[in-house]
Amino acid sequence: MNAVSRLGAAAMAALVAAGPAAAQETVVWWDFLSGGDGVRMKQLIEDFNAAHEGQIAIDATTLEWGTPFYSKVQTSAAVGEAPDIMTYHASRIPLAVQQGVLQPITEADWQAMGLSASDYDPATLEAVTVDGQVYAVPFDTHPIVLYYNKDILAEAGLLTEDGLPMGLDSREGFTATLQALKDHGVQFPMASVTADGNFMFRTIYSLMGQQDGELMTDGEFLAGDNAEKLQNALSVLAEWTEAGLQSTYTDYPATVALFTSGEAAMMINGVWEVPTMMDAQAAGTLFEWGAVELPVIFDHPSTYADSHSFAIPANQGVEMSPEKRAAVLEVIGWMARNSLFWATAGHIPAYGPVTQSEEYKAMQPNATYSSLTANMIFDPKTPLAGVAGPIFDVMSTYFVPTLNGEMDPAEAVEEIRAELNDM
C-alpha cells in the first residue's frame, strides 16, 4: 500500500467509525475489461471488498467490449435495470449524454469521493465534460506508444545513448531509422495494424494533432486546411508502405505477434500491451524492449488517447438511495487512490497524486512514456465519435485501402469528408 491509499483507508475508517452501523451496501458494477487489464481490475475489486468487509460489496460483471456493452447500458437504463456503477470510455460520453444514460458528477460528489477535480489533467477532465458538466470520473488514460526492440536497434546501431530509437524528432529522421532497419535486413521495420482502420485512427489522429489539425470544427468535419492535414498524415503512412517499411494487411493479433516474435523491430500500439511484454519477458521469451512517446513526424508531439472512466447510470424511474450513492462514490474514490496497481496494466492513472508519487516514477516503461500526458488529444466532442462509433467505421473503410497502397491519400480524404458530413 502506498501513502495515498493508506490515507484513503484511514479516512474511510474514520468515516465508518463516526456513522452508525449500517447494513452492507451491494454495488452492482459493469465493465468491459476482459484482457490483461480485466485480471488486474478483478484484483482491485477483490482488494476493495476485503477492505470494506461488512460495509460495501462490489458485485461485478464483465460484458462484451464495444457496441454490445453500450447498447446494453442504453437499453437497461431505459427500463431502470442499469448497474450502480460502470466503466465508460470518455470518447462515448457525448453520445451517452444525448441518450440521457448518465448522472452528472456534482461538486458534493467530488467531496464525498475525497477527490478534487484539480487532481486531474485538464485535457482528461475536459474529455468527460459536456457543456460544462462533468459526467464521469476518469480512472486512466490509455494512449498509444511506440514499442521498440532494443536488441535489433542496438545491433543496427540505431539506439541513442539513453537507449531510445534514433530519429524520434522528425519525419526524415524517423523514416531514415526505418530505412536503416530495412537495410539491416529486418523484414518489417514497423509492425502496423494496417488491416484494421479502426485501430489506425489512433495513429492517424495523433499525426493530425501534431499539425494542430481538428477532425471537427464547429460541427463541420475536416473544415479548412484540416483535410490537407489528414492527407499529410495518411501520406506518411502510405509512404512507409510503399517503401516496404511496415507490414501490410496486418490485423491486431498479427501485429503483436510480428513484434513479439522479433520479425518486426517496432510497433505502434496501445499501452495496454505493456503487460503482454512484461509477462513474456518475465517468462524469458522476450528480447530487451522499450516503449516511448510517438515520434514527432510533424510540428510538435501529440498523441491520441482515450480514458476509461467511472460513470453512474441514470436509471429511468428508479431513485438511487443516498446510502447507495455514498457507497458508489466511495468505490470511485478508493479506486482512484489505489490506481497505482492499475498502472501495471500499462494505463496511465488519471489521478494526479498517483502519477506524481515516487512509486510511479520508478515504474518502467511507464515513466518513460508518461511524458506524453502533456501532449494528449481526445476524440472530437460529438455523439458520432468514440470507440466502436460511426466515425470509426467511415475512417476504417478508407484507411485500409490507403495504408496498403490501393488508394491515393487525396482520394481517401475526399471520400472521408463526403461520408462524414453525410452522417
Binding site: Q99, N198, S396, Y398, V400
Partner: protein, 294 residues
C-alpha cells in the same frame, strides 16, 4: 349424435388463442411499431417527433444505403443458386453411397452447419489471414502473390459467399437427400430398361421429380441470404465496413451505433418490402417453371 358447432368453434378458438396471442405480441405488434417508428426521428430508445416520409426520401441519395442494397443483391446472386447447386451435387453423390459410409460422409458434410457463426469466422480467418493464414503459406509455396481476401472489396463478397455455402449447405443436402429417397426405385429401373444413360436419367427423372425440393431450398436460401448479417459483420470489423455493408448491417449501424431508431426502421421496412416482393416473385417463377417441367 348432433354436432354442437358453436361449442366446437369455441374450443377451436381457445386452442388457437395462445398461438395468436404470442404471434400478435412477438410479431404483429413489433412489425406495426416498426412501420410507425419509420415515420419518426426517434432514437433507439424512446419517442420521436413525426417527420413524415423524410426517412424514406433521403434513402435514394444515401451512399451507404446504395452500397448496402447493391451488396445484398450481389451476395444473393453469389450464394443462393450456387449454394443450391452445390448442395444438390453433394446430395446426389452421397445418395450413391451405402450404409455406414453414407452416414459418415453425410455427417462430415453436415458438420459445419452445427457450428456457431463465430467459430466459422475463426476457422476461415485462420485459413485466410494475410499474415499468418494457412492458405497464404500454400500461396507462397505455389509462388502465387498473397491476397488480402477480407480486406479487398473485390474478394470480400465472393469469399463470404463461399464461406456461407460451406457453412449452410449441410441443411440443404439433408432436404435433397429426403427428396431423392422419395423417388421410387421402379422409375429408375424402368429408365434403365429403356437404356437411358446417367445424364438422361438425371435430366428426365431425377431433376423433374426433385424439383419441389429444389424450389423449397431456393426459397429458403433466398430469404435467408437477403437477411445476411453475421458473417459480413464479423469479417469486416476493423476492415472496410462501409464498403462491405449489407442491408441488415446498415440497420444495425443506424440503430445501435448512430442511435437513430427512426432511420433504421425505414431501412428495415425497405428490406421487409424487398423480401416480400422477391419471395412472391420467386414463388411465381417456381410455379411457372414447375408447370413446364411436368
Amino acid at each position: 349424435m348432433l354436432r354442437n358447432t358453436k361449442r366446437e368453434t369455441l374450443v377451436a378458438l381457445i386452442l388457437v388463442a395462445p398461438f395468436v396471442a404470442i404471434y400478435g405480441l412477438a410479431f404483429i405488434y413489433p412489425t406495426v411499431q416498426m412501420f410507425l417508428l419509420s415515420f419518426t426521428d426517434a432514437p433507439l430508445i424512446g419517442q420521436g417527433e413525426y417527420v413524415g416520409v423524410e426517412n424514406y426520401t433521403r434513402l435514394p441519395d444515401d451512399r451507404r444505403f446504395q452500397t448496402a442494397l447493391w451488396n445484398t443483391g450481389y451476395f444473393v446472386v453469389l450464394s443462393v443458386i450456387p449454394g443450391t447447386l452445390v448442395a444438390m451435387a453433394i446430395a446426389l453423390a452421397v445418395d450413391r453411397l451405402k450404409g455406414r459410409l453414407q452416414s459418415l460422409v453425410l455427417a462430415l458434410f453436415f458438420l459445419p452447419y452445427i457450428l456457431p457463426v463465430s467459430v466459422v469466422y475463426l476457422i476461415w480467418d485462420w485459413t485466410l489471414n494475410f499474415q499468418f493464414g494457412i492458405a497464404m503459406h500454400l500461396f507462397d509455396a505455389l509462388g502465387i502473390q498473397r491476397v488480402p481476401i477480407f480486406k479487398s472489396t473485390a474478394w470480400f463478397m465472393p469469399a463470404v459467399a463461399l464461406v456461407t455455402v460451406w457453412w449452410t449447405c449441410g441443411f440443404s443436402i439433408l432436404l435433397f437427400l429426403a427428396g431423392l429417397r422419395a423417388i421410387p426405385a421402379e422409375i429408375y429401373e424402368a429408365a434403365a430398361l429403356d437404356n437411358a444413360g446417367r445424364w438422361t436419367t438425371f435430366r428426365r427423372v431425377t431433376w423433374p421429380l426433385i424439383w419441389p425440393i429444389t424450389a423449397l431450398v431456393l426459397t429458403i436460401q433466398l430469404i435467408l441470404q437477403l437477411k445476411i448479417f453475421d458473417q459480413v459483420y464479423l469479417f469486416s470489423t476493423g476492415g472496410r465496413p462501409n464498403d462491405n455493408l449489407v442491408l441488415v448491417y446498415y440497420i444495425f449501424q443506424r440503430a445501435f451505433q448512430s442511435d437513430q431508431g427512426g432511420r433504421a426502421a425505414a431501412i428495415a421496412v425497405v428490406l421487409f418490402a424487398v423480401v416480400v416482393i422477391v419471395s412472391v416473385f420467386n414463388f411465381q417463377l417456381v410455379r411457372m417453371s414447375r408447370g413446364r417441367a411436368q
